[in-house]
Structure formats: structure tokens, C-alpha cells
Amino acid sequence: MNKRKERIDRGIKVRSEDIFALSSWREMLYLAAPRLIPVAAFIVLPLLLGPYWQRVLLSVAVFALLAISWDILAQTGMVSLGQALFFGMGAYCSAILNHYFGLSPFLTIPVAAVLGGVICTLLLMPVLRLRGVYFTMVTLIIPLMLERVIEATKIFGGTEGISGLAVLPSKWLELYILMAALTAALFGFRRMMTSDYGLVLTGIKDNDRSVMNAGINIYWFKIQALFIAGSVGAFAGAMMTHVYRFVGMPVFALDYSILPIAAVMVGGPGSFAGAVLGAFILVPLSEALRALGGLRIVFYGVFLVIFVVGLPEGIFHFISRKYSQFERWAEVDK
């Protein structure tokens, strides 16, 4: 007797065109819970945590935004190894606007998000025609190059960076701006990708020839995706600059490129929720392992391997499958 696992959709999941037939509070909760839980967590977490873990939460939110930004590009068929470019560009833009032009953070952050997105898009536009690993290599190189440019030309403070930048009036404001941004990005981009517009973006990844063959200019859509992803990353960078009151070469460091990808891999690609979940696991994990000193990175690496090998689909897809389907072992003849 062989056995195989049967998966059956829960009745409530049977749907047509997003119209649900709801008959009880339980069913409504079943549908609402996956949306309510993260929103509630974003609201409550800042209140529950102590000052140290509140700082960690800021970092979580920033990496979650970078992971979302990575996932937008990945879903459009652009694999980026250079989220640091977006992050660093936003950071430097807001710092420059604040330090040299004396603008308030309330102005520099939104302006830097848009401006950073524009500059990153312009920088990467010439290589948009490259596919696969060639595009990826260029995204890896540009932030590292910018780091050297700043070092060599000593512009914007050179290796010293720019310090003493203005802060937001309160830490609560910092926390809740980031939490609000995270909520908006998570649900907004999920909606965007299931719209017809998102379908075109994912179409470019799956079969760009077929999208071209529909009379659609795929480079124009790639540019739009790049700008959206760039702005999200630049916003994260701009926020962090005003939290740390400092900007310097480390904003272009590899950490900001690699950790978001790790977060997406752990959480599960193609859903944004996976990206956020991954950031909420990896960033605190890295903090918790600080006590281990030099071995921290080793343990961190082991955790990462366990996650990726054990749940290659990502935690989010695993959870969502368990949530929406019954599973049982069924006997198979032969």
C-alpha cells in the first residue's frame, strides 16, 4: 500500500472573480485574518517593544521594504544584486537635501524617494536590454562603483560621510511612518501584481516575446517597474538616514543587497508577504545571535541553509497552503 498526500481546498476558498458567499462570522474571519493579523502586528509591535528592539524593528521594516523592492523586480524578470544602489541613493539624496539645502526631513524623505527612484532608473536604463545574469552583474557593480567614486572624489563628505542630519520629531513618528509604509507597500503591491498591469509585468518574466507580440513595449514596462522598486528602496534609505542622522559609504555596502534577497528566499518569492515575513525572521535572528560574537555569521548561515533546504517554497507559501487547504494521507492502490 502506497500513500500519498491529498490536498483539498477549504470550501470557502472556492471562489469566482473575487466574489465570496459568506454565511458566518467564522468564514469572514477566515478571509480577513490573513490581512488583519499583519496590520495588527504593525500597529501593536512598536508599543510592546523596548527601545533596543524598537531600533531592531526599524531595521526590520527597512529590510522588508528592500525585500519587497527586490521582489517587484524579480517578478518582472529582473534579478537584482544591487538593492544597495536604491537604498544608498535614497540615503544620499535625503542627506544632501537636508545638509546642503536645509530642507526638513518631512520634505527630504518623499523627495528622495522619488528622486532616488528616478536616478536609479536612469542609471540602469542602458542595461535593461540585457537579460538574466548580465543585468544582475551590472546591478551588483554600480553600488560598489559609487562607493569608490565617493571615496576617490571626496564628494559629499567622502569617507567621513555627512553627519549631524536632522531627525524626525519623535521616535514614534519614525516607527509608525515605517509601519504605515510597510502596510501600504505590502497590500498595495500585492494588489498591483494581481491587476492586469501586474499580469503584464509577470508576463515579461515568463515570456517577454509573447508580451512584445501583443504590441506592448516591454522596456517601458520594465522602466516603470524599475522606478517603482527604486523608489521603495530609496524611501527606505532616506528614512534610515534621518534615523541614524548620518550618511556615508556603508549605505552602498553589500549587506543591503544580499539580506533582502535572503529574506525573500526564506519568506517565499512572488508574494511580498514572504518578503516581509523573511525580514521579520532574519533581522531579529541576526540581532539575537549577537551574543555569539564571531560565530554569529556561521549560525546565521546555518539557519539560512536550513530554511532554504527545508522549505524551498518559502515560509509564506507553506503557511498559506496549510491555511487554505486540508491535507490528509490517502491510500493509493498498486
Binding site: E17, D196, Y197, L199, V200, T202, G203, D206, N207, R209, S210, V211, M212, N213, A214, G215, I216, N217, I218
Partner: protein, 250 residues
């Protein structure tokens, strides 16, 4: 035939490295034509179509559409002007339902422009178009994900995608290959209907019997060169064609 042809192909050539895939091919296409392009494997049929639709850049020669030079224009621009094509290898978005596969062509700026600047309800249009090519509405095939659909439906989907763009010229690249006789027989009326609506069609085919029933003109290619051009039965009488298909006695 005093009017200007819809499509004029002039001395079109393409070489890949040392291989002359298409060599100085010329032909005209008039409104309402169904032109068959046939020839042995590797004779340059698909390359010719790729050159017309812009997916491959021509080495020399010209393609004129409604008198306008479209040689080596970007594929998406050519589609917007009104030449739509299908691919020999169907590559649908497998994880999406069939009707969602139609959304991308329906998102085309051409569709918007023809509808007077409005897209309308894409899902409803998609379902209507699929029904037209034989996705029976009653058995909900259009809602099935593409990965479970048999080849016959995938080819119909490919055809529906081309129809959705409301092109002046449709290029069908081996639409019948891999289909059963019954499936081909059910698609032929769809093509006849398109012709009766005034569409102009180019078909690349290996299924000659079915093609000759509907084509009013056939071009035969061999080693990248046009070796015959004319009505189906005349073309097959040509010595050069017999030699290309059957080999010569030496």
C-alpha cells in the same frame, strides 16, 4: 490589382553567420489574401515571418506595410500598426487560466486605440474571443489553467490572442502542427470566417492538404529562396518544388 498591396516584401535577405537563411525573397500580399508559405524544414519560412514581424533584423531588403517601410522596426511597433502573429512553439502562461492569458494582448495599446481610448471589461472580451475560437462556454474550459489544456486548445488560445489584436494581417506559424485531423478540421472554419471578415492571412504550414483547401496562393521556399509562387495546384506541379520535397533522381 491596381491598388497598392497591403504588404510588399522586396528582396528580403537574412544571413546568420555564413548561413543564408533567407535570400532575396519578394512577394506582395493583397487585402483578403490567404497566402501559404511552404517548404522543407530549414527552408527559411519562419525566418521570413520573423523578418516581417520584426523579431529578426533583416540583413538587406525591405518590408512595406500599407506603403510604409517597417523593415527592422521593433516588434511591438509592427503589432501596433496591425500585423499580429502566432508562434510555432506555443508558450502560454501556464499557471494562469486560459482567459487570463488573453489579458496581455487585450492590454495592448492597439486594442485601446481601436476601442476609442477605452479598454473595457477585458475578462468579458477574453471569454467572448475564446468562445469564438472554440472554447465552449458551457464546459468552462476557458477557466482552466493553461498547463492542463491539451495542445489543440493551446493553439486556439494562440489564435485568439492574435485575433484579439484586431490586426489587418495575421501570420499563423504552423498553427496546425501537432494537431489531430479532427482538431484541424474544427479550426479551418475559424480561419475561413476570418477571411470572410476581410482579414489577410499568411500561414506557414506543413499540413499541405488542409492548407491548399483554404489558401488562394502559395509560395514555396527552399534553402532560403523562393522557388515557386502561384495557385496551390500549379505550384505543386512545378519541377523545382517536386525536387525540393522529394529529391532529384541522379
Amino acid at each position: 490589382m491596381s491598388e497598392t498591396p497591403l504588404l510588399e516584401v522586396r528582396e528580403l535577405s537574412k544571413s546568420f553567420g555564413g548561413v543564408q537563411a533567407v535570400n532575396r525573397i519578394s512577394f506582395d500580399l493583397h487585402k483578403g489574401d490567404l497566402l501559404g508559405i511552404i517548404g522543407p524544414n530549414g527552408s527559411g519560412k519562419t525566418t521570413t515571418v520573423n523578418l516581417i514581424s520584426g523579431f529578426v533584423k533583416a540583413s538587406s531588403g525591405k518590408v512595406l506595410f500599407k506603403g510604409r517601410d517597417i523593415t527592422s522596426m521593433a516588434p511591438y511597433k509592427i503589432v501596433r500598426l496591425g500585423i499580429a502573429r502566432t508562434f510555432q512553439m506555443v508558450k502560454p502562461f501556464y499557471q494562469l487560466p486560459a482567459y487570463k492569458n488573453m489579458i496581455i494582448p487585450l492590454y495592448s495599446p492597439r486594442v485601446k486605440a481601436l476601442a476609442g481610448g477605452k479598454y473595457g471589461d477585458r475578462n468579458a472580451v477574453a471569454l467572448d474571443l475564446l468562445e469564438e475560437v472554440g472554447f465552449e462556454r458551457d464546459n468552462q474550459v476557458a477557466y482552466k489553467v493553461a498547463s492542463v489544456l491539451p495542445q489543440g486548445y493551446l493553439k486556439r488560445l494562440e489564435l485568439a490572442k492574435a485575433i484579439s489584436l484586431q490586426p489587418d494581417i495575421m501570420i499563423l506559424d504552423e498553427l496546425f502542427s501537432g494537431l489531430s485531423l479532427a482538431e484541424v478540421a474544427s479550426i479551418v472554419p475559424i480561419i475561413e470566417k476570418l477571411l470572410s471578415e476581410g482579414k489577410t492571412i499568411i500561414m506557414i504550414e506543413h499540413r499541405l492538404k488542409e492548407l491548399f483547401r483554404i489558401a488562394n496562393r502559395v509560395i514555396v521556399l527552399n534553402f532560403g529562396e523562393k522557388i515557386a509562387d502561384g495557385a496551390a495546384k500549379d505550384v505543386m506541379e512545378s519541377e523545382a518544388v517536386k525536387e525540393a520535397y522529394l529529391g532529384s533522381e541522379e
